[in-house]
Symmetry: C2
Subunit: 566 residues, 2 copies
């Protein structure tokens, strides 16, 4: 009898169990062992904020199959013939001898284990700011089941009144919402000038405005200098600018660091990003060792660069690839990421795929065109909700480089569409006539996605000159004296307006009231409406009548990120 | 001064006004005239069923811009400098002399009009069955504002108790829902063996089951033979099989016929489908005449064949292309359709894009593989809802040919993803590692879309042998004696089960209870679970233990279209 192949997986959260299950499906005979440091297995960690926020009360839902069976060692053994050892920490990998040493944390006993193929899925550790006071009681992250349990108790006990969230990324925002729903006065503190760095500033600002509208406070461009405490308990935080904020709870969400110690000590190559380097087979520099999930770096499919992309969906997909390759002979590949992400923000969602403008420019992309489109996801009579999209495309080829979308509308569908368009290498010209599912309960006759492509096409064909809200604001602040033209109706103007010195001339009256425009045909005129479709039409009317310096403020009032007069 | 170019558009519903508006944006100086037979302009006709069903009460929402301005002639004149003449029927086109004759229906006056470019957007007329009684009062369609007004009055007056809908297509189903919501006892009558012909039978059956669960009756495979009446009023319908159904209202929704009389009489080529033939510029056989919307045929981008695709979204996109080309020199093209469509069915949606299996086979595609996947759109703890998807791919290349999806989950997003995948020419291998927006409020870590691609990949790699519910039902009916194995848990079995002679052995117990399986290793075994992931795993266990004829029933119990024991 030949010796059974043994596949050992270090880590039992997301990528590890997926790799194990796939390996089992590929090889019914192999010995498959998961070693997991934590007490739990296969936790739905992306669900923690929703458990804390009270979207559901049954903690076991985070740990069980859709039919309610807990994914514990017994489940893995019975359903998948996989041996899962929890509370078992791997302490070293001996790559030369194909063994690893581990410690049973409950029994405090060590042991060694041989492997034929090893899959490292050690995840990542939350970063902590290097400042005084991090050992105070009341400071936590939201990365483990234990963290989730702690914060859920905070919710249920209703003792804590004030909290801060350090970091305005995905998890920071999700935690902010969860704690706000728990009735806690909350402040998000972000060192960088904006929330959600996967968005460009103007869209991030719309998210920030929405967070504020929920009575959550937001501080950007200001880091935390010190945790303050009394008797070992957190009493507040001190910011870099000296401000002190009293609070009894601080949740730190400033990103994660890949757990690569075991790999590094085993002589495996670590990439420049700090994640374990893997090839397209998810194989490390040691051919018998694979690595998957938050501990690896992966390739950005657009830029070709290595990036860290600690997302649950990628972890699962990588696990599937590594599981198959460990069980067979490197038969499948993982193509990398386009860094698609999404985040619920109270009644908004904020998502992105591909490159933002700021990322693209930082990476040296110069030949890019961007547009902003604001329009509802469905007709008004079906209670359509606003979407604001920023699209980034390569000017020469029209290829879509990235899209971001925020708002109360169906952001997730929009981002999914853009993600598929990017993966298909599609161009603006391909998308202007996209054939998408249309019926009034689901979209506009010309879906927001297609309308965004239309605006991009018009801009690329120089049919209008766009101007961003930031540029307009800058001009107004610097007394640039552009003629600012709001072409909405009087009722709309009464209800909501910018108050930046604009003149109201409704589009329907514009052709008769051209005498109210600047006599100088070279005077800069900036048109806008609610979402800037009428603004676009107004610009055409003005250009058709001889004005030469007409611009359209993209996204109109709905994408204006600053305070309005009303 | 040169004479202004005159662009005339016949038809003012969807494609016509879009073409006019685009032409205006391309040419600020042209004379642009819309001639519209109806009293209304630019009606949101896809919204009629929702007005009838009471989703909203303000009729004007169907006729106005998002900011509430009615799209009447005054609006077109002021906002777009377009002359729109309503109640004006074009009676003939003189293509040689570039003129047309029209009749003002209110004043009963005729006239002629010259054009440089003409755009025909005459739409389509509802088909009526060629049977006795069609002139009875109480028989209507739902294609015009007048129809919508009539049916809305039916809703508001609450006099009519029983109605039938003739035709189980998109509009038939939407009308069925609208009338059911109006408190009317409703029966849908479809001549063909299933509802919604864009779906394959087994998915259409799931829709039918859902319609029935809403107390609406469905009759398939039975046409209508006669409308019955008394004193000129409808009292019932008689079916082909002799059945008589009493009813006071009948809504006919058996499709539409392109309105091509004007075009044909002007010598313009009509295609074999019955629609006006156009090239990629939306130009008819007469280079100065374009045609758009429900009156034209368009090319199916997958098959290359001409088809009729009377959808509102395509009408708008075609209008945009023709408007630009009429104003310029054929600068843009319309690539055709992949026949993406979606329909709300009470709490379900049903959508499709590309080819169904039955369409593909009818067109001679032989090298295809299909799979069915049933799984939730989101995690259980975020109240995920079921989606059932059938995917059709080319076996040799893995290219996606079509996808259909039904269920209470986010069908629209799934279909949009598939539509983009098809438009990008993507293959199953491209999609198994798609990077889509994941967070628990929006999707599973492995989205239903990606999971569907996984199952297709596994099937194409012969990792399991799928069997459809129809084949299983057939085998059971014919005493085929397969060993049918339900691998769910005992609680699930108590709650819901097929009752087709299956044996329950939970997956977790299977490896220990192999002795309960047929001794004959060639005996046909059919595994399934709720959605068939566990069914798939069970099939691997059995094959790993020597059974050679193991199949997985695709989609599991959730995609079972027949009656269940419980």
């Amino acid at each position: 009898m030949t010796k059974k192949k043994r596949i050992v997986i270090i880590g039992g959260s997301a990528a590890g169990p997926k790799a194990a299950a796939k390996a089992r499906r590929m090889d019914n005979d192999a010995d498959i062992i998961i070693l997991q440091k934590d007490a739990d297995l296969s936790m739905a960690s992306c669900g923690y904020p929703y458990y804390v926020g009270g979207y559901f009360d049954d903690r076991n839902m985070l740990l069980s199959t859709p039919t309610g069976v807990t994914r514990d060692p017994q489940f893995y053994l019975n359903a998948k013939a996989i041996e899962a050892r929890t509370n078992t920490e791997v302490t070293a990998i001996d790559a030369v001898n194909h063994t690893l040493t581990y410690k049973d944390l409950l029994k405090d006993l060590g042991g060694t284990l041989e492997y034929d193929k090893l899959i490292i899925a050690t995840g990542a550790t939350p970063r902590m700011p290097p400042i005084p006071g991090t050992d105070l009681k009341g400071i936590t992250t939201l990365q483990s089941m234990k963290d989730a349990d702690f914060l859920r108790r905070v919710r249920d006990e209703k003792v804590i009144k004030k909290a801060v969230v350090i970091g305005g990324g995905l998890i920071g925002i999700e935690t902010c919402e969860a704690l706000q729903l728990a009735g806690i006065e909350i402040t998000v503190i972000e060192l960088l000038p904006q929330l959600l760095m996967f968005l460009d500033w103007e869209l991030a600002k719309l998210v920030e405005n929405h967070v504020r509208s929920k009575s959550a406070n937001v501080i950007t461009g200001n880091g935390i200098a010190e945790f303050l405490g009394e008797n070992g308990k957190l009493t507040g935080v001190k910011l870099a600018n000296g401000t002190e904020l009293p609070c009894e709870l601080a949740v730190v969400a400033i990103g994660v660091i890949p757990n690569v110690r075991l790999a590094r000590e085993a002589g495996i190559t670590i990439g420049q990003t700090g994640g374990i380097e893997v090839n397209e087979y998810m194989q490390t520099s040691n051919p018998d060792i694979y690595a998957v999930g938050d501990c690896v770096e992966t390739v950005n499919r657009i830029t070709g660069r290595k990036v860290l992309a600690p997302y649950g969906d990628l972890a699962n997909l990588q696990g599937r690839v590594a599981g198959e390759n460990a069980a067979t002979l490197n038969s499948v590949t993982f193509p990398g990421t386009i860094q698609t992400g999404i985040c619920k923000v109270f009644d908004f969602a904020a998502g992105a795929t591909g490159l933002s403008e700021s990322t693209a420019r930082r990476l040296g992309y110069e030949d890019i065109t961007t547009v902003i489109n604001a329009s509802p996801d469905k007709p008004g009579f079906m209670d359509g909700l606003l979407l604001v999209t920023k699209l980034v495309a390569e000017t020469k080829t029209g290829k879509i480089l990235g899209a971001q979308c925020v708002g109360p509308g169906n952001v997730s569908k929009q981002i999914a569409q853009w993600a598929m368009a990017i993966q298909g290498g599609l161009t603006v010209e391909d998308l202007v006539n996209a054939d998408l599912p249309y019926a009034p309960p689901f979209s506009l006759a010309i879906d927001h996605f297609i309308a965004t492509a239309h605006i991009m096409q018009n801009k690329m064909k120089c049919r209008f000159k766009g101007i961003s809200s930031m540029e307009v604001q800058e001009k107004v602040k610097n007394n640039g004296k552009p003629f600012i033209l709001d072409v909405r109706g009087p009722d709309e103007y009464e209800e909501m307006r910018l108050g930046i010195g604009e003149r109201l001339i409704p589009l329907g009256a514009l052709r008769k009231r051209l005498n109210e425009l600047p006599e100088d045909k070279d005077h800069e005129i900036i048109c806008y409406c609610k979402i800037s479709l009428r603004g676009y039409e107004a610009s055409i009317v003005l250009e058709g009548n001889g004005w030469k310096n007409v611009k359209v403020m993209e996204g109109g009032i709905m994408a204006w990120p600053y305070a309005r007069e009303k």
